[in-house]
C-alpha cells in the first residue's frame, strides 16, 4: 500500500514539475493539447526550424514566433463539455 502511495506521490510531483506528464485518466483532449503546445514550443525554440517556417510563411521570424505562442494559448481548442452527473 505504501509503495502504491509513493508511486502516486512521485507521479504527482512529476506532473507538477513537467507539464504534460500523463496519468492513467489522460483524456484525448489533454493529450492533444500537450502535443500541440509541445510542438509549438519546439518550433519556437529551435532557431533553424523557426527560420524555416517563417520563410515558408513569408513573415519575419519574430512575427511567426508571436503567432506560435498565441496558438499555444489556444492549444487544441475548447475542452469537451463535462458530463453533468
Amino acid at each position: 500500500m505504501a509503495d502504491k502511495l509513493r508511486t502516486l506521490q512521485q507521479l504527482e510531483s512529476l506532473q507538477a514539475k513537467y507539464v504534460g506528464t500523463g496519468h492513467a485518466d489522460t483524456t484525448r483532449h489533454e493529450f492533444t493539447n500537450t502535443i500541440v503546445r509541445d510542438s509549438y514550443a519546439s518550433y519556437i525554440g529551435h532557431p533553424a526550424l523557426l527560420g524555416y517556417m517563417a520563410l515558408g510563411m513569408g513573415e519575419p521570424k519574430e512575427v511567426v514566433r508571436g503567432q506560435f505562442i498565441e496558438r499555444m494559448v489556444r492549444g487544441a481548442g475548447n475542452p469537451p463539455a463535462k458530463d453533468e452527473d
Binding site: A16, Y18, V19, G20, N33, R37, D38, A41, S42, I44, G45, H46, P47, A48, L49, G51, Y52, A54, L55, G56, M57, G58, E59, P60, K61, E62, V63, R65, G66, I69, M72, V73, R74, G75, N78, P79, P80, A81, K82
Partner: protein
C-alpha cells in the same frame, strides 16, 4: 549500438552556418575596445569591429556542440570586463569569459537547472540580465523562470547563487527583459498570458476574454527570493518588450510593442502610446498594420533613444520627453513618447550600436550589414509623432500615422558581411573546367535580397600589374641590393637565351649596368652577404660585388649547371655530371668552394637549401632531388659536409624542393619542413628534423597535371609556399586553427613566381603567366571559399541545370508580395499624390507587400559567361512555381522541354490551393530563351517533377504520375498513391523511383513498363520530414529532414532484386502490404544530427581526383559532407578519438556530445569529424594524453584527422 553498423560515415563541415541567432556587444577583452559575440547554430564566434577601417573580422570561433539559443552580457559593478551568459539546449546555464591572450573562451560557471533539449518548460528561451549585473533570469516559454544572483567573492572572482524559482503553471511568456532600476532591487518584466481558465471552459468564452499582462518580478536581494510585484493588462497583440533607462538616466519602465502600437508602461507612470507609422505609397495598403521585430536602446551621456525596426525593415527613432519642473529641469515624470522614421536596413535578428558610432545589423536572412552613423536624425524634417496626440487605451480608435520611406540618410553602409543564410537549394557541378574541381551553385537569401551564389575553392587575389613581355620568360626573381634593404630593387627575367634585368622604382625599366650576364639564361639570383649579388647561369656563377667587380666561377669543361640552391651565405649547384659543388661565404665576403664534390648516382633534378637560421652561420641541410625518384638530405655541417643524412623515396622524380619553417599546431611554434614538388604534379610536405635531418610525417596532395614548382613567399607576415602546377596553390597556416591549408589561387596558371616587395606592395608576388609579367598580392587567408553573387528578385525555391548548356533555370516565388502585373496596374490607376509614386529599390526596401498575393517567376541564369539573369518569365493569376524539371519527350523526337509546376492561390498554413498547373516551355537560342507552349490544370499542386524514360514523372499531392506531352496539354498515363501526404522530391535510376514525402521519409517505387504500372514496394518505418534526398547507389538513399537529421536508408537486397525481376508486376501488385504500408521496410544505415536543416543532398566529388562524398547544404548556410570510411581500423581509431575528446575536452556549454548528435534519434554509424578536428586546438599536454591512449604519436593523430578532410574536400 553504433558499433554494430556495417556502414560508417565521417561528417565534416565545410562552412559553418552564417545565420546569427543571437549576438551580444561588450568589452569582453577587458579593454576599451568593444567586441561582438555571435551564435550561429552550435558555433560561438567573437568578432572585432575595426572602427578605423569600418570592418568586422572574426577573432575566434568555437564549436560548442549544442544549440545556442540566447546570449546575454553582464558586468559586475566596478569591473571593466564583460562576461557572457549562454542559454543553450544543455539544460544548463553557462557563464563564459573571453581570454584575450589565449584567444579562447573560458568557462567560469556551469549550473544545471533542468533536462537537456529544447522543451516547453525547460528554461532557455528567454535570458535577461539586470543592467547592473547583479542577477539574471532564465525562462522557458511556459511556466518556469529561474533567477540566479551574480556576485563576487573575497578573491574578486565571480560567483553564482543557487537558483531561485519563480514558476507559474499555465502561463505563457511572450517576451522577457530586465528593468533598469538603478541600484534598487532587480526587477524583470514579462508579457504573459495565463491560459488555465481558457483550458477549462468548454464554451470558449474564457479564451475570448484572455488577457495579456505585463508582469514584474522583483528579486529581493535582502530576503533572497523572487516576488511578483505587478500585473497590468496590456494590448492583446503585444509581443515584444524594450528596456527604458532608469536610475539617473531616465524614467525606467518598459516599452510594450504590439501590432501597430508602442506603449510606455511603468508601475508609477501613466501609459503613453504611439502608433507605428505605416509606409505611404501607391503600392502600399494603408490599412496594413506593422509590428516591431527588433530594436536597440542606446544611451549617450545623459540622453537615450531607441531604434525600433518593423517587419519591413524600417527603423524608427523613439525618444521620451520628460515633464519639466519650474526651473526647466526634467523630472522623473514621462510627458510623451515621440517616434519618427530613421532609415531602412535589412530585417534584423538583433541590432547593436557601437560606441565608435557604428550599427551592426545581424540580418534575419541574407548578408549582415555594418553601418556607420552619419547623424542621429536630430534635425531632419521627418514628421514626428507624439503620444500626446494618441489615446493610451488600446481599445480606442485613432488616426494611423504615415511616412515616406527614403534612401539612407542617417546611416552609411560600410561593410556587407557575406552570409549564405538561408540556402534553399544547391548543385555541385563543374562548369568552369578548372582542373576538374567542381563549383557549388546555390540559391540563397529571401525576398528581394536573394541571390544565386557560385562558390569556388580558392583564395582571392588582387592584381596590381599585368604587362606583356617581348618574349616568353622562363623564370623571374626579385632581389634587394644590400641585406638591409627593405624593398626589392631588381626584377630579373630569364629567357631561353638571355637574361633581362629591370629596376623597380617609380617606373619599371630595363637596366644594363648591373653586372648580370645578359647573354645566358639564369638559374638563380641571390643577394649574398652584406651587399653582393650572385647570378647562377648554366656556365658558371657570377659573384657581383657592390662596386660592380665581378668574380666568376666557371663551370668545369663539358659540364653545365643544371640546378642551384642559394641562401644569403651558401650556394649549392648541381652539374650535369651528377656532381654537387658547395660554396660558402667566408668572413670577408668571398665565396669558397668546398674542396670535395659529392657525386650523386643519378642526374640531379633540383636542389633545396633553407634560410640561415637567426644567430647561425649556415643552414645545416641541403636537399637533393634526383631523377631516380628520391630526395636525399645532405649535411652541410663543417665536420660532415655533404654526407648523407636521410633519403626519401618518391613516386615520381622531384621537380622542385624547398626547405622552409612554418607555423605548426603540433609543436605550438614553428617546425622545419621540406616541401617537395613532383613531376607528376603531386606536392609533398615532410617534417625535417632540425638535428638529425630525418624526414617524417609525409603529407601529399595532388595539384595538377604539370610538374609542381615551389616558391617561398610571404603572406600576412607568415611563411607560405606557392606551388605552381596547372593552377597556382598557396600552402599556408590557417590563422585560427594553425592547421596547414593548401588552397588554389583564383588566378591563371603561373609558370614561375617569386616574392615582390615595394613601397606600394610590401607583401606581393611576381609571376609569369605565358608571356605576361604579373604582380599580385593575397590579402585574406581566412576565407578559402570564393563567392560570386547574382541578385534575384524573389526567394528562389528550386533550380535545374540545362542538360547540355551551362545555364540554370530557377523558380522563384514570394508569399505576401505583389506580382509585377498588379504593381503596374496600381501605379497606372492610382492618381499619384506627391511623393507616393516614388518606386523604391526592392533590394533595400523589400518588394511591396500584398497579403495572400504571390509574386513568382522563372529565370534563366548564366553563371559562367555573363554572370547574370538572361531571361525572365513572370507567372500570373496568383500562381506560384513549386517545381521544375527539364524533360525530353520520346513522342517529340526526344526534344527537351522545361516543365514547371505551379499552385494557384497557395496558402501555406494550413495548406490549401485552388488548383495546380503544369506549364510547358520550349527552349530557344540554346536554352537562353523560353517559349510558352501550354499549361495543364490538375487537381493538386505538383511539388516534384522529374524526366523519366522519355516522359515526365510528377509528384502531385500524394500521387505519383507519369505524364506525356500532348499538343494541347499534358496527358496522364498512369498514377499511384506513393506516399500518404505530399511528394517533395523524386529521384530515379533505371526503373526505380525514389519518392520523398513531406512527412513520411522515402519510398521505393518500381515502374513496370509492360503493365504501365507504378508499384511502391518498400518504405520507411520512421516518419522523416524529408527536405532533401539523393540516391547514393541503387539500393541506398541519403537524405535530410526538417529537424536537422542526416540519414542513409537502404532497401533490403531481396526486396530490391524481386522488384526488378521480369514479369514480377502482378506479383508485386498482389503482395500484401505490411502495417498499412508497402510490403518491405527500409533499413537505417546511418543517422546523425547535424544541427541545421539540410535543404539539398548530393553525391559528388568536391576536389579534382577526389572520391565521391555526400554533400549537403543547410538552411542556415551550412555546407557539410559525409565521407564514407573505408576500413574498420579507421572506424575504430576515430571512435576512440571521439570518446577521448569527449572526455578530455567536454563541450563548452555542458551538452553531452553524443546526446547532441543523437538529438532526435540515436546517432548511428557516423563519426563527428568536427569533434575530431577540435584535437588541433587542444593544449599540447592533452594532445599527448589522447595520442597515448590511441597508441600513436601526436603527429600521426593530426595527420589522420587532417587527411580525412584534405583527401576529399578543403
Amino acid at each position: 549500438m553504433a558499433t554494430t553498423s556495417s556502414m560508417f560515415m565521417y561528417s565534416l563541415t565545410l562552412q559553418p552556418p552564417s545565420d546569427i541567432t543571437a549576438a551580444v556587444l561588450g568589452q569582453f577583452a577587458g579593454t576599451k575596445e568593444q567586441q561582438i559575440v555571435t551564435a550561429s547554430g552550435s558555433k560561438l564566434t567573437i568578432h572585432r569591429p575595426d572602427p578605423t577601417q569600418g570592418k568586422i573580422s572574426p577573432l575566434f570561433t568555437q564549436d560548442c556542440f549544442g544549440i545556442i539559443r540566447t546570449l546575454a552580457v553582464f558586468r559586475l559593478a566596478g569591473s571593466s570586463k564583460d562576461y557572457i551568459i549562454v542559454g543553450s539546449d544543455s539544460g544548463r546555464i553557462t557563464i563564459l569569459e573571453y581570454l584575450r591572450e589565449q584567444n579562447r573562451f573560458s568557462r567560469l560557471h556551469l549550473e544545471t537547472f533542468g533536462k537537456s533539449g529544447i522543451r516547453r518548460v525547460i528554461p532557455g528561451q528567454y535570458l535577461a540580465v539586470d543592467p547592473k549585473g547583479r542577477a539574471c533570469l532564465i525562462a522557458s516559454v511556459e511556466k518556469n523562470k529561474i533567477v540566479y544572483v551574480l556576485n563576487r567573492n573575497a578573491q574578486a572572482a565571480l560567483t553564482i547563487s543557487s537558483p531561485l524559482e519563480a514558476h507559474k503553471p499555465g502561463c505563457l511568456v511572450f517576451d522577457l527583459i530586465a528593468l533598469d532600476v538603478g541600484y534598487e532591487n532587480p526587477i524583470f518584466a514579462a508579457i504573459e498570458i495565463d491560459y488555465t481558465e481558457a483550458d477549462q471552459d468548454p464554451s470558449g468564452q474564457a479564451y475570448e476574454e484572455v488577457e495579456k499582462n505585463l508582469v514584474y518580478y522583483e528579486l529581493d536581494l535582502g530576503l533572497n527570493h523572487v516576488v511578483k510585484k505587478l500585473s497590468e493588462t496590456v494590448d492583446r497583440s503585444a509581443t515584444k518588450l524594450f528596456q527604458v533607462p532608469g536610475g539617473s538616466d531616465g524614467p525606467s519602465g518598459v516599452l510594450v510593442c504590439g501590432v501597430d502600437n508602442i506603449t510606455y508602461r511603468h508601475s508609477n507612470q501613466d501609459a503613453h502610446r504611439v502608433p507605428i507609422p505605416r509606409r505611404r505609397g501607391v503600392l502600399e495598403n494603408p490599412e496594413r498594420k506593422r509590428q516591431i521585430v527588433a530594436g536597440i536602446m542606446h544611451k549617450i551621456r545623459n540622453q537615450f533613444f531607441l531604434l525600433l525596426q518593423t517587419g519591413d525593415g524600417d527603423l524608427f527613432k523613439l525618444t521620451i520627453d520628460m515633464i519639466e519642473d519650474e526651473n526647466g529641469q526634467p523630472t522623473g515624470e514621462v510627458k510623451a513618447l515621440k517616434i519618427k522614421y530613421f532609415d531602412t536596413v535589412p530585417v534584423a535578428n538583433s541590432l547593436h550600436i557601437l560606441k565608435s558610432g557604428f550599427l551592426f545589423v545581424s540580418a534575419e536572412r541574407g548578408n549582415h550589414h555594418f553601418y556607420q552613423f552619419e547623424k542621429l536624425g536630430d534635425d531632419d524634417d521627418e514628421t514626428e509623432f507624439s503620444s500626446e496626440n494618441y489615446p493610451s487605451d488600446p481599445l480606442e480608435s485613432y488616426e494611423p500615422a504615415y511616412f515616406h520611406p527614403r534612401p539612407l540618410v542617417n546611416l552609411a553602409l560600410v561593410q556587407s558581411i557575406e552570409s549564405m543564410n538561408p540556402i534553399l537549394d544547391s548543385k555541385v557541378v563543374n562548369l568552369l573546367d578548372e582542373d576538374g574541381a567542381p563549383q557549388i551553385y546555390s540559391l540563397c537569401g529571401a525576398g528581394a535580397r536573394s541571390s544565386f551564389k557560385t562558390l569556388k575553392h580558392g583564395l582571392s587575389v588582387s592584381e596590381l600589374v599585368e604587362s606583356e613581355l617581348p618574349d616568353k620568360p622562363q623564370a623571374v626573381w626579385t632581389t634587394k641590393l644590400t641585406r638591409g634593404d627593405e624593398y626589392d630593387a631588381y626584377i630579373v627575367l630569364s629567357f631561353a637565351s638571355g637574361t633581362l634585368v629591370l629596376s623597380i622604382g617609380e617606373t619599371v625599366e630595363e637596366v644594363t649596368d648591373t653586372g648580370f650576364l645578359s647573354t645566358a639564361p639564369t638559374l638563380a639570383v641571390q643577394q649574398l652577404g652584406e651587399d653582393a649579388l650572385v647570378q647562377i647561369h648554366p656556365k658558371g656563377i657570377r659573384h657581383i660585388q657592390a662596386d660592380k667587380r665581378v668574380n666568376e666561377w666557371p663551370c668545369p669543361q663539358h659540364r653545365s649547371i643544371v640546378a642551384a640552391a642559394t641562401n644569403e651565405r651558401q650556394i649549392a649547384v648541381a652539374l650535369s655530371s651528377g656532381e654537387i659543388v658547395y660554396f660558402e661565404m667566408d668572413t670577408d665576403g668571398s665565396l669558397n668552394e668546398y674542396d670535395e664534390r659529392r657525386e650523386m648516382t643519378g642526374t640531379v633534378t633540383c636542389l633545396g637549401l633553407g634560410d640561415v637560421p637567426e644567430g647561425r652561420v649556415r643552414s645545416s641541410f641541403l636537399a637533393v632531388g634526383c631523377d631516380d625518384s628520391t630526395v636525399r638530405i645532405l649535411s652541410l655541417d663543417p665536420d660532415s659536409t655533404l654526407e648523407n643524412k636521410s633519403v626519401q623515396a618518391l613516386t615520381s622524380a622531384p621537380s622542385s624542393l624547398a626547405i622552409m619553417p612554418m607555423a605548426d599546431a603540433t609543436s605550438g611554434g614553428t617546425t622545419l619542413y621540406l616541401h617537395i614538388g613532383l613531376h607528376s604534379g603531386v606536392y609533398l610536405r615532410t617534417v625535417l628534423d632540425e638535428i638529425t635531418g630525418e624526414l617524417s610525417d609525409v603529407r601529399t596532395r595532388f595539384l595538377g597535371l604539370k610538374p609542381a614548382k615551389l616558391f617561398r613567399v610571404s603572406v600576412g607576415g607568415q611563411n607560405c609556399i606557392l606551388a605552381a602546377s596547372t593552377r597556382a596553390w598557396l600552402g599556408y597556416t590557417d590563422p585560427q586553427t594553425n592547421g596547414f591549408m593548401l588552397t588554389p589561387l583564383d588566378y591563371p596558371e603561373l609558370r614561375w613566381a617569386w616574392t615582390f616587395s615595394s613601397e606600394q606592395c610590401p607583401e606581393g608576388m611576381v609571376g609569369i603567366q605565358d608571356q605576361n609579367l604579373r604582380i599580385f598580392s593575397i590579402e585574406d587567408l581566412s576565407r578559402n571559399l570564393l563567392q560570386e553573387s547574382i541578385p534575384l528578385p524573389y526567394t528562389p525555391r528550386k533550380f535545374i541545370k540545362h542538360p547540355e548548356h551551362n545555364l540554370f533555370y530557377v523558380i522563384e516565388s514570394d508569399n505576401n508580395t505583389l506580382a509585377p502585373a498588379t504593381r503596374t496596374k496600381l501605379i497606372n490607376e492610382t492618381p499619384a499624390v506627391n511623393g507616393d509614386a516614388n518606386i523604391l529599390p526592392p533590394d533595400q526596401f523589400n518588394n511591396p507587400h500584398g497579403t495572400e498575393h504571390w509574386a513568382s517567376c522563372i529565370q534563366v541564369i548564366d553563371p559562367v559567361s555573363t554572370k547574370s539573369v538572361i531571361f525572365n518569365v513572370d507567372l500570373e493569376d496568383n500562381e506560384c512555381a513549386t517545381s521544375i524539371a527539364a524533360a525530353s519527350f520520346a513522342g517529340q523526337d526526344d526534344e527537351t522541354f522545361l516543365v514547371v509546376g505551379t499552385a494557384k492561390d497557395l496558402k501555406v498554413s494550413p495548406r490549401s490551393y485552388t488548383a495546380g498547373y503544369l506549364h510547358v516551355y520550349r527552349f530557344h537560342e540554346e536554352g537562353r530563351e523560353l517559349e510558352f507552349i501550354h499549361k495543364t490544370k490538375i487537381d493538386h499542386a505538383p511539388t516534384a517533377l522529374l524526366a523519366f524514360q522519355g516522359r515526365l514523372l510528377a509528384g502531385v499531392g500524394p500521387y505519383l504520375r507519369i505524364y506525356d506531352l500532348g499538343m494541347k496539354q499534358m496527358l496522364r498515363k498512369c498514377q499511384v498513391q506513393a506516399t500518404p501526404n505530399a511528394i517533395t522530391g523524386l529521384h530515379t535510376q533505371g526503373n526505380r523511383i525514389i519518392v520523398s514525402d513531406v512527412q513520411e521519409s522515402v519510398s521505393f517505387v518500381v515502374y513496370k513498363f509492360q503493365d504501365n504500372k507504378l508499384i511502391p514496394f518498400a518504405d520507411d518505418m520512421v516518419a522523416r520530414w524529408t527536405t532533401g534526398a539523393t540516391m547514393v547507389d541503387y539500393e541506398t538513399v541519403a537524405g535530410g529532414d526538417k529537424f536537422g537529421n542526416l540519414w542513409l536508408v537502404r532497401c533490403p537486397p531481396k526486396a530490391s532484386e524481386e522488384a526488378d525481376e521480369d514479369n514480377s508486376g502482378s506479383h508485386l501488385l498482389n503482395e500484401r502490404g505490411y502495417l498499412n504500408g508497402a510490403p518491405n521496410r527500409l533499413n537505417l544505415m546511418t543517422h546523425y544530427f547535424c544541427g541545421d536543416i539540410p535543404t539539398s543532398v548530393q553525391k559528388t566529388p568536391l576536389v579534382a581526383a577526389g572520391r565521391d562524398v555526400v554533400f549537403w547544404t543547410g538552411f542556415q548556410g551550412t555546407l557539410g559532407l559525409l565521407v564514407p570510411l573505408m576500413t574498420r581500423e579507421d572506424v575504430d581509431f576515430f571512435q576512440k578519438l571521439e570518446s577521448e575528446l569527449g572526455e578530455q575536452s567536454p563541450p563548452l556549454l555542458g551538452r553531452d556530445h553524443l546526446a547532441y548528435r543523437s538529438y532526435y534519434a540515436p546517432s548511428k554509424g557516423t563519426i563527428d569529424g568536427d569533434l575530431c578536428e577540435t584535437y588541433f586546438l587542444l593544449p599540447h599536454d592533452k594532445k599527448e594524453i589522447i595520442a597515448g591512449v590511441l597508441d600513436r604519436s601526436v603527429r600521426e593523430v593530426e595527420r589522420k584527422v587532417s587527411d580525412m578532410r584534405t583527401r576529399v574536400a578543403y
